[in-house]
């Protein structure tokens, strides 16, 4: 079974590499990292923060490419164009198909993020050559690596979301739209709930609104939980407990979404 899973994952990985958009965005991200070196030279003191802000944004964008452009095209496209029957006619179950696709896409996301991480480290090395060490005194490689690892985890969650929507809907457009909505809600729901909790004594709002907002915090993926970019950019220490909770949250949420996707996909009438 593991061999079959590996084969589906490898097939997905190879198939996704054939989409040239991946290489295009990789080149753009690498250029952005080079640009960060030039751009940071304009600033007065926080040069390291500028470089890391831009490089980590490039890592995020590179990661987002997978759920938005590759995952939906592969899964919803398979169903849309009926190519799924070719795969399912072989001894591969529906559950294995979903999990295998996810593993292949996760491998692709890790490849892209890995390349961009190397580019980030190269940009930092370039900065060490160009700028006075005073401007790089807050550099913390550990914080940068943790922030990137958490970005990778957020990407995995989003891939699982994209896969879930792809199994539920019948068109790639709808799946993209739903994934985009989940991403926007996931990025902002924590801020909204925090605002409502902090302002509860000053503002008069409906308890139902707060209930809906709080429910959204648990229903939708809280992507802000994986955002350690601020700490990495400012060289601040990251609490291990916080990372551990984010890790457990990310893995369990992804597993939950995949189980749900498998359940829905198993009952789906593909004909």
């Amino acid at each position: 079974m593991l061999f079959k899973l590996w084969q589906v994952a490898l097939f997905t990985y190879r198939e996704s590499l054939r989409q040239r958009i991946v290489y295009g965005v990789l080149i753009c991200a690498a250029l952005l990292i080079l640009f960060s070196l030039m751009f940071s030279g304009w600033f007065m003191r926080d040069i390291l923060k500028i470089i890391l802000d831009l490089c980590l944004a490039a890592v995020s964008l590179g990661g987002l490419l997978v759920p938005f452009f590759v995952a939906i095209n592969l899964v919803a496209g398979d169903i849309d164009q009926k190519t799924i029957f070719t795969i399912l006619s072989r001894p591969v179950g529906r559950g294995l198909y979903i999990v295998g696709k996810f593993c292949g896409l996760a491998l692709l996301a890790c490849t892209i993020i890995g390349i961009l991480t190397l580019a980030t480290l190269a940009a930092l090395w370039g900065a060490a050559l160009i700028f006075d060490p005073f401007f790089l005194r807050n550099l913390s490689i550990n914080a940068i690596l943790v922030a990137i690892a958490m970005k990778a985890l957020a990407t995995l969650v989003l891939i699982a979301v994209a896969m879930l929507w792809s199994t539920v809907t019948t068109s790639t457009f709808l799946a993209t739209l739903l994934t985009l909505c989940s991403y926007i809600i996931g990025q902002s729901v924590e801020s909204v709930v925090r605002f409502l909790v902090l302002q509860q004594n000053q503002l008069d709002y409906s308890p139902l609104l707060r209930l809906v907002a709080e429910a959204s915090l648990y229903v939708f993926p809280n992507l802000a939980a994986f955002n350690f970019q601020h700490q990495a950019a400012h060289g601040l220490a990251i609490a291990p407990g916080e990372v551990l909770f984010a890790l457990v949250y990310g893995l369990s949420y992804t597993a939950g979404l995949l189980i749900l996707a498998v359940l829905l996909f198993s009952r789906r009438d593909l004909s």
Partner: protein, 325 residues
């Protein structure tokens, strides 16, 4: 079979000719198409460059457009809308503020009060997006109190925000000390801030001594010059270093003339009313020139200052001053 071969061989020259004709026609049409496309490109490119340049020039003259529309949006909304990209958004907005102010300083124009207000609003937005970002606070500290004194209370507010956002950093309190000692002449508050700065890790050992000397810093040009010299040494941007250098030069010249005025007063028992008196009595061999294009003078309290108020004078005024000098 042989007939067929014969037939085919009879037809083949015509077919070959047709093929060749078709190929040459196809080639000619391809050349024509490529030529038309190249011609189109040659027409479009200069048009796009010229129009793009006109758009850029039009934007250059629109003050409110030069920073960003983000400035005028509510802080909460901007923070929410930028999602995980609030860090890069703060960097780009800060870059726009620096270009905006940098262009003004390059053109030797002092921004109007509403333009300073816009810059302040933009800096507030930058610090809303990333409240630990030190550059906006630094820019506010080194420009607002000196060039836009009406923004002094807002600068104090910004630095208090910095002190909260950067609890391990001694610099926000040090800046607050300087603002209260030098500009606001409030020795009590200044002493409180420098004590808070001294408690922070890595604070220089001389901070506690500044608490007792805060009153001496009020309007003291040498103190201002030394403060800016300290900041200039830690600044990467060459344009800002140039901006600091000019102000330091002017402050040092004021401090030098003040020293001579004090020496004159102690020798003759009365203060000079004109700076020329210093030259006439041999205290100075020549009077220094104000780098901002103004003229140094002695006020009624025997303090040396300049007609430029350390703000860039207009070019014509500068030339007139030079001629008068």
């Amino acid at each position: 079979m042989s007939k067929n071969i014969g037939k085919n061989s009879d037809k083949s020259p015509d077919k070959d000719c047709d093929k060749r004709c078709n190929t040459s026609r196809h080639r000619a049409s391809r050349v024509r198409k490529t030529g038309a496309l190249l011609l189109g490109l040659l027409l479009c490119l200069p048009l796009a460059v010229a129009a793009g340049h006109q758009v850029f020039l039009a934007h250059l003259n629109r003050a409110d457009e030069q920073i960003s529309r983000l400035v005028t949006l509510p802080e909460g909304l901007v923070k929410l809308a930028t999602m995980e990209f609030s860090g890069p958004a703060s960097d780009f907005l800060m870059f726009k503020v620096m270009v905006y102010l940098g262009e003004k300083l390059e053109r030797q124009e002092n921004p109007a009060p509403q333009e300073w207000q816009l810059a302040h609003q933009a800096i507030c937005q930058v610090t809303n997006l990333d409240e630990r970002f030190w550059d906006p606070y630094l820019l506010a500290m080194t420009t607002f109190p000196w060039d836009a004194p009406q923004l002094l209370p807002q600068t104090v507010g910004l630095l208090e925000k910095a002190a909260l956002a950067r609890p391990e950093d001694h610099q926000p309190y040090y800046f607050l000390w300087f603002l209260h000692a030098y500009f606001l002449d409030d020795a009590g508050q200044a002493a409180r801030y420098i004590r808070l700065a001294a408690e922070k890790p890595g604070a220089p050992g001389y901070y506690p001594t500044l608490a007792a000397r805060s009153a001496l810093y009020a309007g003291n040009p040498m103190a201002g010059a030394l403060f800016l010299e300290g900041l200039s040494g830690q600044t990467n941007n060459p344009e800002l270093r140039q901006y600091y250098a000019k102000r330091i030069d002017a402050l040092k010249k004021i401090a030098f003339l003040q020293e001579k005025v004090d020496a004159f007063t102690s020798r003759f028992g009365f203060a000079p009313t004109r700076l020329e008196q210093l030259r006439e009595q041999g205290f100075v061999s020549a009077l220094p020139e104000d780098p901002y294009g103004g003229q140094f003078f002695i006020d009624a309290q025997a303090r040396v200052y300049t007609t430029s108020k350390l703000v860039e004078a207009k070019q014509e005024k500068k030339e007139a001053n030079k001629q008068a000098h």
